[in-house]
C-alpha cells in the first residue's frame, strides 16, 4: 500500500516541511525503515532531475528539501525580496578557517589569517553562520567557535564532511614543511638557499 503512494507521500511531506527533512524523520512519518525511505528519496530525486522541472530535490544540512532551480532565479527574485548581500572576502576566509578547524578560538583564527578577527567573527555570529561551542581549557578560557546548521544551509552542504578537502594538512606544521622541502630539493637541486634544510 505504502509502496503505491510512498513517493506521493514523500513529495507531500517535503513540500509541507519548513526545514530539511532527515531520512530518519521521513522514515518515521511514512512508516518505513530508513533503507526503504532512502529508495523512495532516490526515486523522487530522479524524477525531479528530469529536464523541464523548476524544482530540485536537494540534500542540505542533513535533510532533504525542495529548492527552486538556479536557472529560474530571476523570476523567483521578481516575486520575492532580494537576498541579503553575500559575505565579504574577510568573512569568508574566517568562516573557512572555522569550518575546517572547528572548534577554534579567535586567537587561532587570527594566527592563520595574520589579521584581527573581531569584526568578521561578530559578523558571522550575527548572521548565525557560526556559534560559540564552548571554551578552550587554556589560559583565559577563550571561547571556541564552530559552524551552525545555518552554515550548511547557506552553502547548500549536506553535512560538514561535504566540505571539499584541503590539499595539505596544515595542522602538523613542521612535517609538511620538511616533506615538501625534501621533494622540492629532490627535483631541483640548484635552489641555493635550501642548504640549511639538509642539516635538519
Amino acid at each position: 500500500m505504502i509502496w503505491n503512494h510512498g513517493k506521493a507521500i514523500l513529495e507531500a511531506i517535503l513540500l509541507a516541511s519548513p526545514e530539511p527533512l532527515s531520512l530518519r524523520r521521513i522514515a518515521e512519518v511514512i512508516g518505513l525503515d530508513e533503507k526503504d525511505a532512502r529508495i523512495l528519496v532516490d526515486d523522487l530525486r530522479k524524477e525531479y532531475a528530469q529536464p523541464g522541472r523548476g524544482i530540485d530535490l536537494k540534500e542540505i544540512a542533513g535533510g532533504f528539501v525542495f529548492t527552486t532551480r538556479p536557472e529560474y532565479a530571476e523570476y523567483v527574485e521578481k516575486l520575492l525580496q532580494p537576498r541579503a548581500k553575500g559575505l565579504s572576502h574577510a568573512a569568508l576566509e574566517t568562516l573557512a578557517i572555522i569550518a575546517y578547524r572547528q572548534p577554534v578560538t579567535k586567537a587561532e583564527i587570527e594566527g592563520v589569517r595574520g589579521v584581527k578577527a573581531d569584526h568578521t567573527v561578530d559578523t558571522l555570529l550575527d548572521r548565525k553562520l557560526i556559534k560559540e561551542v564552548g571554551r578552550k581549557e587554556a589560559p583565559g578560557r577563550p571561547v571556541l567557535f564552530g559552524t551552525t546548521k545555518d552554515f550548511l544551509q547557506y552553502f547548500g552542504l549536506s553535512e560538514l564532511s561535504a566540505l571539499p578537502p584541503l590539499s595539505v594538512d596544515t595542522t602538523d606544521a613542521g612535517l609538511i614543511l620538511r616533506q615538501q622541502r625534501e621533494s622540492v630539493v629532490g627535483e631541483e637541486p640548484a635552489t641555493g638557499e635550501a642548504e640549511e634544510s639538509e642539516a635538519s
Binding site: 513540500l15 516541511s17 519548513p18 526545514e19 530539511p20 530540485d56 528539501v65 525542495f66 529548492t67 527552486t68 532551480r69 538556479p70 536557472e71 532565479a73 523567483v76 537576498r83 541579503a84 553575500g86 572576502h89 574577510a90 569568508l92 576566509e93 568562516l95 573557512a96 578557517i97 569550518a99 575546517y100 594566527g111 592563520v112 589569517r113 595574520g114 589579521v115 584581527k116 550575527d126 548572521r127 548565525k128 560559540e132 547557506y154 552553502f155 547548500g156 552542504l157 566540505l163 571539499p164 584541503l166 590539499s167 595539505v168 596544515t170 606544521a173 613542521g174 609538511i176 614543511l177 615538501q180 622541502r181 622540492v184 635552489t191 638557499e193 640549511e196 634544510s197 642539516a199 635538519s200
Partner: protein, 261 residues
C-alpha cells in the same frame, strides 16, 4: 619578471586581506617556490609595497608592520653564519630549524584557507540562485535580543542574583474579595440616587484582577436585583442605579444577603 615590476608596484594595499595575503601575492607574481622563499628579495618587495602603510588605519597598518619586522628578522637570521658550536649547544630541533619555517607554515596554511574560501564563495553564488520554502526567510537583519552576551551569561547573572538572600522578599498576593467589592458598589450607588456611571465604577489604573472583580460584583448585584443597569441611548452612557428591595427573593433582608455574597 623584471619588466612589469614597476607597474606591479602600484598594487593597492587595501586590496589585500592582510600581510599573508600580500606575501602570497608576491610569491605568485614572482613565481617563487613557497617552500624556498628568497627572503631578501621578498622582504625588499614587501617593504616597497607597504611604504604607504601610514595612510591606513592604525590596526591594519600594525598588522603589515609586524610582518615587515618578521621578514627582516628572518632575513638577518639567514645572513648570520651558523656557529657550529652554538648549534651543538642548542642541540635539537631549534638548531636545525630554517628561520623561514614558521612563516612558510603560516603561508601554506593561509593559502589553503584562501582556497577553501574561494570554494565557499562558489557554493554561496550557486545557492544565491536557489530558493527553498522558508529556509532563507530573511529575518536575519533583526537585531539580536541579546547583544554581546549569550543566554548562558544571562542565566549565570540571574543565578548570582538569586544567591544573595537580600534580593528575596515575599510578594503579597493581590486579593480583592468579591464581597468587599459588592459592598463598595452598593455603597456608591446608594449615595447617588440618579445612578453611577458604569465606567466610573472601575478605578483608573486598576489591575486586571480588580477590573474583573468589579465587573463580577456588579453582575452579582444585578442578579440579586439590587442594582439595575440603564442605558438611555444606543452607545450612550450606562448608569448603574440602586433598586430598593421591598420583597427579597429568599425572604432575607438585603443587608444580610450582602454579608453572604
Amino acid at each position: 619578471m623584471g619588466l612589469p615590476r614597476i607597474e606591479s608596484y602600484t598594487v593597492r594595499l587595501e586590496k589585500f586581506e592582510g600581510p599573508l595575503d600580500l606575501l602570497l601575492h608576491l610569491i605568485r607574481r614572482e613565481e617563487m617556490n613557497i617552500y624556498d622563499i628568497p627572503i631578501a628579495r621578498i622582504t625588499e618587495q614587501y617593504l616597497e609595497i607597504i611604504k604607504d602603510v601610514v595612510a591606513m588605519d592604525i590596526d591594519r597598518a600594525s598588522e603589515f608592520l609586524v610582518m615587515a619586522a618578521t621578514l627582516l628578522g628572518i632575513k638577518s637570521r639567514m645572513l648570520l653564519p651558523k656557529p657550529p658550536k652554538a648549534a651543538e649547544e642548542e642541540s635539537g630541533a631549534e638548531a636545525g630549524l630554517d628561520p623561514r619555517e614558521e612563516l612558510v607554515r603560516q603561508l601554506v596554511a593561509y593559502s589553503q584557507y584562501k582556497e577553501a574560501a574561494q570554494a565557499l564563495r562558489e557554493q554561496e553564488m550557486t545557492m544565491a540562485r536557489v530558493y527553498t520554502r522558508q529556509l532563507f526567510v530573511e529575518a536575519k537583519d533583526q537585531t539580536a535580543p541579546l547583544e554581546g552576551l549569550t543566554l548562558k551569561d544571562l542565566v549565570k547573572a540571574f543565578e548570582e542574583v538569586l544567591k544573595d538572600e537580600w534580593n528575596w522578599r515575599e510578594v503579597p498576593r493581590e486579593e480583592i474579595p468579591l464581597r468587599e467589592k459588592i459592598r463598595e458598589i452598593n455603597f456608591r450607588i446608594a449615595r447617588s440616587p440618579s445612578g453611577v456611571r458604569f465606567r466610573d465604577l472601575f478605578t483608573r489604573g486598576g489591575s486586571r484582577l480588580e477590573i474583573v472583580v468589579t465587573f463580577l460584583a456588579l453582575l452579582e448585584l444585578i442578579r440579586q436585583k439590587r442594582a439595575v443597569a440603564v442605558q438611555d441611548a444606543t452607545f450612550g452612557e450606562i448608569l448603574i442605579r440602586r433598586i430598593l428591595v421591598t420583597e427579597p427573593a429568599g425572604g432575607q433582608a438585603p443587608e444580610e444577603d450582602d454579608e453572604d455574597a
